[in-house]
Amino acid sequence: MRLITAVIKPFKLDDVKAALEAFGVHGLTVSEASGFGRQAGHTEVYRGAEYQVDLVPKLRLEVVCDDDDADDLIEAIASAARTGKIGDGKVWSVPVEAVVRVRTGERGSAAL
């Protein structure tokens, strides 16, 4: 099994979710994140003092999947999240040793 983690632009969530569903993946976990990177942050001004905000809002997606699906899924997520502009994010995968569905205790592929 693999765990695919994707850091994407927030407004791309619906597209990525659709791509996953088209692929037959119906579960994922999303959390809020912020990124530093090439993408520039923004400037805010309060009573004449300018603040440079470098953290850029991102969403962080996690999908556990079968080893065989991993590469295709990474590809699917990356294309769905792509705008072509700096800051589109990263997708990476790590090996998973075990996965359990809490409700039933099922393990492995059956747990997804």
Binding site: P10, D14, K17, E32, P57
Partner: protein
């Protein structure tokens, strides 16, 4: 349209402003209470106040005013002659102001007193049952008690000669006792005494308290029904007691918890303001200082009782309003000064136990009546409709379950992400196989 000669423009201006101020106390209370509950039921808390404003107003027009201030029937209740304000036009006068101004002012008292009760049953009441209860409660409890005390021919006013300018009995003891009954009937919140149920937004609580304090000037000084010396002494007494209440509560906290909290400060303010409500037209500013201080101290201790005794008066209606109202109602019997009342004097000023006894009797009667009737009404509604939501609904939070809403969508960049409007609209993009007929945007 020229005014009737009996109408004093200055007095009318003051009473109209006061009525508006008391109205503002209702959103103020909504925020005060709403900030104090967990975020998952915050809107429900707001809605309990907002619907009181709506429902009690309508009931007031239809028959409430007439029950409370219509022609007296035996000192116990008003008759229905003035139902629908029939016959009460713009020329009708009460004292030196239009009767409609008086009616508007008193309307607000009924609405806010009902709203106060909602604090005792936070996070667990069925919404429809709450509305039914409110209608029944104002009819059976509030209107009669208001008649007893506020109408010159009511028995407490005419025979007991109790001093209660702005409603220590009618509003405070009444709501405290009724709230306690409600809390007992509905039972404790799931997790009471185990889970923390901390305020979800203290700035909201402070804002609500600020509006309450502001509105209380109308509540108390407006009860003079004229703009002059009595209103002025009630005004400054209100300010002084609110201030002293803050100090009283914070003093208890510093001694007991080692922290002077923001929630404590504003709770103390409310307790002090509650305490002075009956007494604002009977004592001088030093008396107000004493009453506010003692009300603050007493309420700060009283709110802990619910953990000790195990009843879940969630936002301390009994602990703050009941106790504070009792302190103020009784202390009139001690601190009333003839220079302010124009006659009656309290124990401290040589008036003996006479006034104190009358005050105590009124407090007990109103408290007992309110508790008993509220308990019966709540029990009846519980049998009939059920008064408490299911366990699952309570855990999920009332906002989503009852109102189909959540209070905030600001928690960052998922704000607005991952939602879809209805079915078809989004599905037309992302999930094209779904049926467009399930569109949920309603005309």
């Amino acid at each position: 349209m020229p005014n009737s000669a009996a109408i004093n423009a200055g007095d009318t201006a003051w009473v109209l402003v006061s009525a508006a101020l008391v109205m503002l106390m209702i959103p103020g209370l909504a925020l005060f209470y709403g900030g104090m509950v967990r975020v998952k039921s915050a809107l429900n808390m707001l809605m309990m106040s907002v619907t009181c404003l709506a429902v009690v107003t309508v009931v007031w027009v239809l028959y409430g005013y007439s029950l409370a201030f219509g022609p007296d029937a035996g000192g116990v209740i008003g008759t229905l002659r003035d139902a629908g304000f029939s016959g009460i036009g713009t020329h009708a006068v009460t004292g030196s102001i239009p009767t409609l101004a008086f009616a508007a002012f008193q309307l607000m008292f009924a609405a806010i007193t009902a709203a106060l009760l909602s604090g005792s049953i936070a996070d667990r009441a069925k919404f429809g049952s709450w509305i039914v209860f409110v209608i029944a409660w104002v009819t059976v409890v509030y209107f009669p008690v208001a008649h007893w005390v506020f109408d010159p021919s009511g028995w407490i006013s005419a025979h007991l000669h109790v001093l209660d300018l702005a409603g220590g009995t009618v509003v405070e003891i009444n709501s405290g006792a009724s709230g306690l009954a409600l809390a007992l009937v509905l039972g404790r919140r799931l997790g009471f005494k185990r889970d923390p149920m901390r305020p979800h937004s203290i700035p909201l609580v402070v804002m609500g308290a600020g509006l309450l304090w502001f509105g209380w000037f109308g509540f108390n000084a407006g009860s003079a029904l004229a703009s002059g010396g009595l209103a002025s002494v009630a005004f400054i007494n209100t300010q002084v007691a609110g201030a002293a209440g803050v100090l009283g509560w914070l003093g208890v906290e510093l001694r007991r918890d080692k922290h002077a909290t923001t929630l404590g400060a504003v709770s103390g303010a409310v307790a002090g303001l509650v305490g002075i409500t009956p007494a604002c037209g009977s004592v001088n500013p030093l008396g107000a200082l004493v009453i506010g201080l003692l009300a603050g101290v007493a309420a700060a201790y009283a709110v802990g009782l619910k953990f000790r005794l195990g009843y879940d008066d969630s936002l301390d209606v009994a602990g703050v309003h009941g106790v504070g109202g009792l302190v103020g109602t009784l202390l009139i019997g001690v601190l009333a000064t003839a220079a302010v009342t124009g006659g009656a004097r309290g124990l401290f000023y040589g008036g003996g136990f006479d006034q104190l006894g009358r005050q105590a009797l009124a407090a007990v009667v109103v408290g007992a009546y309110a508790f008993a009737m509220s308990w019966l009404l709540a029990k009846g509604i519980d049998r009939w409709l059920g008064f408490r939501v299911s366990r699952d609904d309570e855990l999920a939070g009332l906002d989503l379950i009852i109102h189909g809403e959540t209070a905030y969508d600001i928690a960052g960049h998922t704000a607005g992400v991952g939602h879809r409007i209805g079915q078809s609209v989004s599905s037309s993009q992302a999930v094209p196989e779904q049926d467009a007929a399930s569109a949920k945007i309603r005309p």
